[in-house]
């Protein structure tokens, strides 16, 4: 028998601290596999955010830096400009990228910084125990919107990919999901493409990844996958928002 699925060398062999069924683990693996496939593990510097994944520098086998809350694109910009030969990615959640770090991500994209951002959208603040995020859906109950998000009080959710795609410096923006086998395969392709865009020096690339938070959504892991499929995909449709015809 031949081994058809083995653990990637792009991740260190440590148990992850994430809750059972949290899809951060899948996304970590996809990024790690992409680095191995493109043979860039030795030359990549990742930037960890603040949020549940604040210490993912413990898991990736590449070099990592941890940034202040929301500032990963700014730190990534600095690294890339000092070491243009290195590959730089930021790993950010919706609290990090779409709330406190909105200015950094918008301007990094507008400047066309040659970095790749992996934006994990789970529609809630996970690390701080389930408060409303900018990406929380209308009607979604969180600890700070206990009766469901009301647009008259809390405003509307932000479609980050669509927003970033309006900027000229962003050459590749895609939204993917990790809620099924097929979606995971597509997400792997998108992550590889984001790295290749950076390798080709074309500009800023971002992949938004729809993710689950079973603990703070208050749903079991399998039910959370179904909730994502039924609710999040309606508000956040999958697809390429910029760079559809990009050949890299």
């Amino acid at each position: 028998m031949e081994k058809v699925f083995s653990r990637t060398e792009g991740l260190l062999d440590k148990p992850m601290h994430y809750c059972p069924g949290c899809t951060h683990g899948i996304i970590h693996r996809l990024i790690a596999e992409a680095m191995c496939e493109l043979d860039i593990l030795e030359e990549t510097i990742g930037v960890s955010p603040v949020g549940c994944t604040y210490n993912n520098y413990e898991y990736f086998a590449c070099d990592m830096v941890q940034a202040s809350h929301g500032r990963a694109p700014a730190v990534g910009t600095g690294i890339k400009r000092v070491h243009p030969e290195r590959m730089v990615f930021t790993y950010q959640g919706d609290g990090d990228l779409a709330a406190i770090g909105t200015a950094e991500i918008v301007h990094a994209a507008a400047r066309g910084e040659k970095i790749s951002t992996f934006f994990v959208n789970n529609a809630i603040y996970g690390m701080t125990s389930g408060q409303m995020a900018p990406t929380t859906l209308i009607g979604q109950k969180t600890t700070t919107s206990p009766f469901g998000r009301d647009p008259q009080v809390q405003g509307y959710p932000i479609n980050v990919s669509e927003m970033i795609a309006t900027l000229e410096g962003a050459v590749y923006v895609e939204r993917v999901s990790v809620s099924s086998f097929k979606d995971i395969k597509n997400a792997a392709k998108a992550i590889r493409k984001a790295f290749r865009v950076q390798q080709a020096g074309l500009g800023f690339s971002m992949v938004e990844i729809l993710s689950t938070c079973p603990t703070n959504w208050g749903i079991d892991p399998v039910g959370a996958i179904e909730w994502l499929e039924e609710n999040m995909k309606k508000k956040y449709p999958l697809g390429v928002f910029r760079g559809k015809d990009l050949e890299v």
Binding site: V4, G25, I26
Partner: protein, 68 residues
């Protein structure tokens, strides 16, 4: 002939592999606890495994390896 191997100590019993398996041969071992206190996933009828890698692909904790 195919087989899957579970690293039970790393399993958090989330059940994503149980739900995704097309042959429905994965289950949580309710009589077993790992040191973290989770019921780990496992396969009893390994001869029915087709080595599709769907369980390993959706596993968030790198528990599963697959041979075919």
């Amino acid at each position: 002939m195919a087989k899957v191997e579970f690293r039970e100590e790393r399993c958090k019993g989330c059940g994503l592999c149980v739900a995704v398996c097309p042959k429905k041969i994965i289950s949580l071992k309710t009589t077993v606890l790992n040191s973290k206190g989770y019921h780990p996933a496992g396969v009893e009828e390994m001869d029915k495994c087709i080595g599709c890698t769907m369980c390993a692909t959706i596993c968030p904790d790198n528990v599963i390896e697959v041979w075919k």
